[in-house]
C-alpha cells in the first residue's frame, strides 16, 4: 500500500478535476463556462502553490507571470490582419506574426519562467514581510508597464479577438498538466529540499541546502506554470486587459489556496474548485437563480462570501479544509487493517 501512495496522492486531484470537466460537459453551454472557470482557477492556484506552498514564503506576484503569459499568448494568436488595425504601435515582431494555439502555450510558459527567473534572482533572498512587499511591488510594476507601454500591447485598451480555444477539454487537459508538473516537482529532491527550508531554514542551511537557490527554482517553475495558466485563461475569455490578472485575482487565488490548505497540492485543488464554485453560484444568484425558491442576491455578495470564507478559515482552521495534507485513502487502509487484525486474532472459544 505504501508503494502506491504517491500514485494515490496524484490520482486524487486528477480524478477530481477530470470529474468536474466531465460533469461540465453534460451541462448547457451557459453553465459550462462556470466549470471551465473553476478548472482554469485550479491551474492558477496550483501554479501559486508550487512556490508558496513549498517554500512557505508569501508572494503577491504570481498574477504578474500569469498576466505576462496571457498577454504573450494572446497577442501572438490574434490574426495578423486584425493586429495591423487594432495594434498599430506594437513592435513589428509582434504585429506581423501569429502563432498557433499550441505554440502560444509554449511561449507563455517560457516567458513566465524567464520573467520569474529575472525577478527571482534578487528577490529570493528576502523572506517574510519584505518578500510580501517586494512581490507586491513586482505586481504593481508589471501592471503599470502593461497598462502604459503601447509597443508591447494595447496598453490601457482591450486586447480582443483572441481565439477562444479553451473549452472544457483544453481546460481540463491544461489543469492536469499543471497538477502533474507540480506533483512531480514536490517529489523530486529539489522539491523536498525546499520543503525542508520551509520547516526550519536554519537547519536546512546547516545541512548545506541553499535556501536562495531552492526558492529560485520553485519561483521560476511557479512562473512558468502561471504563464501557462495565463494562456489557458486568455484563450477562454478571448479578450484581456491589464486589470484582469491583477489585485482581485491575487486575492482570490490566495484565498483559494488558504481555504483549501496552503501546504498541499490537494489543498490547492480543493480550495480552487470550492471557492470557484461558491463564487460562480453566488455570481449567478446575484442576477437571480432558482434553487427550489428564487434567490436574488445583491451585487457584491460573492466577494463578501469569499472574503468571509477566507477570514473564517484562517481564524478557525488555519491549516485549511484539507489540513494541509495530500489526498490519501488512509481511511480505506485503516478499515482493511482492522479486518485483517480481526481475522488473525486467535478464537477464544474452543482453544
Amino acid at each position: 500500500m505504501t508503494r502506491s501512495r504517491p500514485l494515490v496522492e496524484l490520482a486524487g486531484p486528477c480524478v477530481l478535476v477530470s470529474a468536474v470537466g466531465i460533469v461540465g460537459s453534460f451541462t448547457s453551454n451557459a453553465t459550462a463556462i462556470y466549470f471551465q472557470t473553476a478548472i482554469v482557477s485550479v491551474a492558477i492556484v496550483v501554479a501559486l502553490y508550487v512556490f508558496v506552498g513549498n517554500s512557505g514564503v508569501l508572494s503577491f506576484g504570481q498574477a504578474s507571470f500569469a498576466s505576462v503569459g496571457a498577454y504573450a499568448a494572446g497577442i501572438m494568436t490574434v490574426p495578423v490582419e486584425s493586429k495591423v488595425g487594432t495594434l498599430p504601435d506594437v513592435f513589428p515582431l509582434l504585429r506581423d506574426h501569429a502563432i498557433g494555439n499550441a505554440w502560444s502555450f509554449v511561449l507563455a510558459t517560457a516567458i513566465g519562467a524567464a520573467y520569474a527567473l529575472l525577478v527571482g534572482i534578487p528577490l529570493m533572498r528576502l523572506s517574510g514581510l519584505a518578500a510580501g512587499i517586494a512581490t507586491l511591488a513586482v505586481l504593481e510594476i508589471t501592471h503599470n508597464i502593461l497598462h502604459e507601454w503601447t509597443k508591447i500591447g494595447p496598453g490601457a485598451g482591450l486586447l480582443s479577438l483572441i481565439p477562444e480555444t479553451t473549452g472544457l477539454l483544453q481546460a481540463t487537459a491544461g489543469a492536469l498538466v499543471v497538477i502533474g508538473v507540480a506533483f512531480w516537482y514536490q517529489r523530486t529532491r529539489l522539491g523536498r529540499q525546499l520543503r525542508a527550508t520551509r520547516e526550519d531554514p536554519a537547519a536546512a542551511q546547516a545541512v548545506g541546502i541553499s535556501v536562495h537557490r531552492q526558492r529560485l527554482w520553485a519561483f521560476a517553475l511557479s512562473g512558468a506554470l502561471s504563464g501557462f495558466a495565463g494562456a489557458l485563461y486568455v484563450h477562454m475569455i478571448g479578450s484581456l486587459t491589464a486589470d484582469q490578472l491583477y489585485l482581485e485575482l491575487t486575492f482570490l487565488s490566495l484565498a483559494m489556496l488558504v481555504i483549501g490548505g496552503v501546504t498541499s497540492l490537494w489543498g490547492a485543488v480543493v480550495g480552487a474548485l470550492l471557492v470557484s464554485g461558491v463564487d460562480s453560484f453566488l455570481g449567478q444568484a446575484e442576477s437571480g437563480v432558482n434553487i427550489g425558491f428564487q434567490l436574488d442576491l445583491p451585487t457584491g455578495t460573492r466577494l463578501v462570501a469569499v472574503g468571509a470564507l477566507m477570514a473564517l478559515t484562517l481564524i478557525l482552521r488555519p491549516s485549511g479544509i484539507t489540513g494541509g495534507r495530500e489526498f490519501s485513502l488512509r481511511w480505506l487502509e485503516a478499515a482493511r487493517l482492522r479486518r485483517v487484525l480481526a481475522a488473525a486474532r486467535p478464537r477464544e472459544e474452543g482453544s
Binding site: S127, L136, I315
Partner: protein, 305 residues
C-alpha cells in the same frame, strides 16, 4: 529630459499628504509593535469613518456630530477587529496573520461595496460634512488648502502627545517594553490585554482623524477609499523600518511627501511610469536593507537568507 517644476504650493500640499501618511504609519506601527501583526485592514477602518461622515452629511448632521460619529464608529470597529480577528490569531505565524488581515480587508471592502450599491445604487457617497476644510487660504502668496494646515497641526500634536505618552507615562513605558519583548514584559506583571487594548484604541483614534482629513481632501467616498493610500503607507513603513515606531513614521511621511512632490511636479504624460519607478526603488531598498532604511542592525521579523 524631464523638467520637474517644484513650487511652494506643491511642497506645502505634499507636506500635508506626508503628515497624513505619517499618522497612518503610526497607527499601523503601534499595532505592529505590540501584536507583531501588520493590519492590512487599517485602511478599512478609515473607510468606515469616511462612510460615517458621508452618511452623516447626507442626513444633514452638524459637523461636530458627524465627526463624533466617525470617531465612535471607527473605535467600535477597531475593538471588534481586535476581539474577533487579532485575538484568535495571536498564536499563529506572521504569514498567516498577514493573509488573515488581508482577507479581513477584502471582506470589509466587499461589505461596504454591497451596502453602498444596495442603498445608493451607485458606487460612492459624497461627504460634505468637512468640505469647508477643502477651501484654500492664501499665505505669503501661496494657496494652501485649510485641510493641509489642519493635517500638519493634527500630525504634530498627535505625534507630540504620543511621544509624551510613550516616554513619560507608566503605561507608555509598558507599551514600549511590550513592543520589544512581550513575554518578559508579561512576567514582570504588564497586562497584555491592557497594553494591546490601548494600542488598538490609539490606532483607532488616529484612523478616525485620518478619515476626517482624507474626506476633506477627497469628498467622495467609495468602498475602496484609502485602499491606495494604505498600500503606499505600508510600503513606506516597511521601507522605513517597521520594527520601531519612529522609523515607521518617518517612512510613512517620506513616501507621502515624495509622492506628493513627484505627482505634482512631473507633467502628466511623463509620470505614467511613476509607479514603476517608485516600486523599483522599493525593491532596491528592501534588497539592501530589508529591515528598513532607517533601521539599525538586523531585525527579527524581516529575515534575509
Amino acid at each position: 529630459m524631464i523638467v520637474a517644476v517644484v513650487d511652494a504650493q506643491n511642497l506645502v500640499d505634499a507636506l500635508g499628504l506626508g503628515a497624513i501618511y505619517a499618522l497612518m504609519a503610526v497607527g499601523i506601527g503601534l499595532v505592529f509593535g505590540v501584536l507583531r501583526l501588520v493590519n492590512f485592514a487599517y485602511g478599512q477602518l478609515i473607510m468606515a469613518g469616511a462612510f460615517t461622515l458621508a452618511y452623516a452629511s447626507r442626513a444633514n448632521w452638524p459637523t461636530w456630530a458627524a465627526v463624533l460619529a466617525c470617531f465612535g464608529v471607527v473605535l467600535a470597529l477597531s475593538l471588534i477587529m481586535e476581539v474577533a480577528v487579532f485575538r484568535p490569531l495571536r498564536t499563529q505565524s506572521p504569514a498567516v496573520m498577514l493573509v488573515a488581515t488581508f482577507a479581513v480587508a477584502f471582506l470589509l471592502q466587499s461589505v461596504a461595496l454591497l451596502i453602498v450599491l444596495k442603498v445608493q445604487g451607485q458606487l460612492g457617497v459624497p461627504a460634505s460634512a468637512v468640505a469647508q476644510l477643502s477651501r484654500a487660504v492664501t499665505i505669503a502668496g501661496v494657496d494652501i488648502r485649510k485641510v493641509t494646515i489642519v493635517s500638519l497641526v493634527v500630525a504634530v500634536v498627535a505625534l507630540g502627545l504620543l511621544a509624551v505618552l510613550l516616554g513619560r507615562t507608566t503605561i507608555g513605558l509598558q507599551m514600549r517594553a511590550a513592543a520589544t519583548d512581550f513575554t518578559t514584559a508579561r512576567l514582570l506583571g504588564v497586562s497584555a490585554n491592557r497594553v494591546i487594548a490601548l494600542a488598538v484604541v490609539l490606532a483607532g483614534v488616529i484612523a478616525a482623524a485620518v478619515a476626517v482629513l482624507l474626506t476633506a481632501r477627497t469628498p467622495y467616498v467609495q468602498s475602496d477609499f484609502a485602499l491606495h493610500d494604505t498600500i503606499i503607507v505600508l510600503v513606506g513603513v516597511v521601507v522605513g523600518g517597521i520594527e520601531r515606531l519612529w522609523t515607521a513614521t518617518l517612512g510613512g511621511f517620506a513616501i507621502g511627501f515624495a509622492s506628493g512632490v513627484i505627482n505634482g511636479a512631473l507633467p502628466t504624460d511623463k509620470s505614467v511610469y511613476l509607479p514603476s519607478a517608485l516600486f523599483t526603488l522599493v525593491i532596491l531598498v528592501l534588497l539592501i536593507r530589508p529591515a528598513g532604511l532607517f533601521a539599525r542592525g538586523r531585525s527579527s521579523v524581516v529575515e534575509r537568507v
